[in-house]
Amino acid sequence: MGDKGKYIGIIMGLTFASLIMTQQPAIFVGLMSRSYSFISDLGLPDIWVMDTKVQFVDDIKPLQDTELYRVRGITGVEWAMPLYKGLLKARLTDGTFQTCNVIGLDDATLIGGPPTMLEGTLEDLRRSDSVIVDIDGATEKLGKPSPIPGGKPIPLKIGDNLELNDRRAIVVGIAKSTRTFQSQPMVYTTYSRAKSYAPKERKLLSFILVKTKAGQDAHELTERIKLNTGLAAYTQAEFKELTYQYFMHNTGIPINFGISITLGFIVGAAIAGQTFYNFTLENIRQFGVLKAMGTSNLTLLRMILLQAVLVGSIGYGLGVGLTALFGYATRHTILAFKFPWQLLVFSGAGVSIICIFAALISMIKVFRLEPAIVFKG
């Protein structure tokens, strides 16, 4: 009632809570979606076949090349293609090394390539020693050193060379792919060339990508592949879920973000609750006057709730707005950020709980208030 400072204090508390309850989960969701972004980027295959011990997409347990032919022979398989995925060191022009995620695509069909080509074409991979680099890797980690000390690296462009395991790689294209959890530069090449870059091992086939025949149920086919080959087979959604669950259960990410969100909620509730309560206490005589004049508890309850809803809505709007602004400002950075509508509902529920809590402790005070207080000096 008439105290702008405290009013702003309540709104700031709710804005902070709303900001933390949307910004932190948005980063969490962004981070978790990156864990399976490589799977999402490869939209064409319906089924991923791999070693049974694989726990997530970056957990490579190579197979023998012959497994590819066994999968191709299974009823219901339209096609099956090899995919190499491995971390290899690239030597940059200044002599430093950078670990890259090298993806080897089927030589004939180039299935498994990047979702969007920015420069060059996927077919350019048929040229000798050719590789395609993702734009984030080309402009940042694989960029050439700036002639100005401390300056931004000069982005790789078509025609530039890299060294992968002492072998020449010529950039023939720049692609756009979704950032992965590890944020390593993505280098696409053919399966056979990727094998030549990789250290010599008996098994180098990372995944077999499978397309189901028209009318073939994908789940049925995964079961058939498992039964006939003894390998693990997942639909795209299942493989994403496997990867997501691995990160949820085997990393500290959910706990860390959970703590941040909980702290934001508690601090927001404490600030808003206490300020709201103090606000009520300081105006307790005014409530007493209204009670003495015949205002019912129900009307006072509606007044307090209206104030709570008003400050809650403003705080929520500001918090969500700031989060959206944060997401917009960091859209071109390495930071993971994803803001689905479910987060709006989540933070809305959180702010509502805080407002109800703040209003409740005030209401108890007002309900118990003796109107005779108005005659006390």
């Binding site: 009632m1 008439g2 005014q286 003495a292 004049m293 015949g294 205002t295 108005v374 005659f375």
Partner: protein, 232 residues
Amino acid sequence: MSLAVRCQNLTKTYDTGGQIVTALSNINLDIPMGELMMLVGPSGCGKTTLISVIAGILDQDSGICELFGENLQRLSSKEKLKFRAKHIGFVFQAFNLLPALNAAENVAIPLIINGMNRHLAVRKAIELLSQVGLGERWTSLPSQLSGGQQQRVAIARALIHNPRLIVCDEPTSALDHETGLNVMHLLKSVALQNDRSLVIVTHDARIFEFADQVAEMDDGHIINVKNAPLRT
């Protein structure tokens, strides 16, 4: 003679941390309609408790308090709220205007509590503010008004719904002598119309002359009720 207030053997005690304090002891008091009764006495003598019981915002332990023939203790809390909203007006020592509302909105509160449309209530409030000399200041917030002006707004608020009883707690103690006299003239002239009764708790001997009756209290008892003012 019709009575606005009739108190019989009123007793009220407080429990202050295990110690029982008697605030009112066998109070008998009649306030006729259309009269101004002042309750006077030293601090802690029970004036505030008595006015609270009369106004229906505090329940006595025993005895009867009737307002216009209605025994308030027999009413449910909801009925008592309605009774207060309709029949009683309040004027407080510290004015107790709502700081976020302007003068007209403050005056309109009792009408809104009684169910009147807000727009109409504010319009009536502006009319009444003109009668108390504040027609030009109806948009002012309480903080923009002097003490005397705030008390005039409070008096307008007490009168707006045309109550039958007005209870005033030290209405002049926060005002200088001249402003206090002006406020009392206003109360006497405007508030006592239509057989309305006034009960005023005061320490201010300068305003005793406005009373029709003065009840002196001490230690929870009424020790004297005089028809004539104590000082003129």
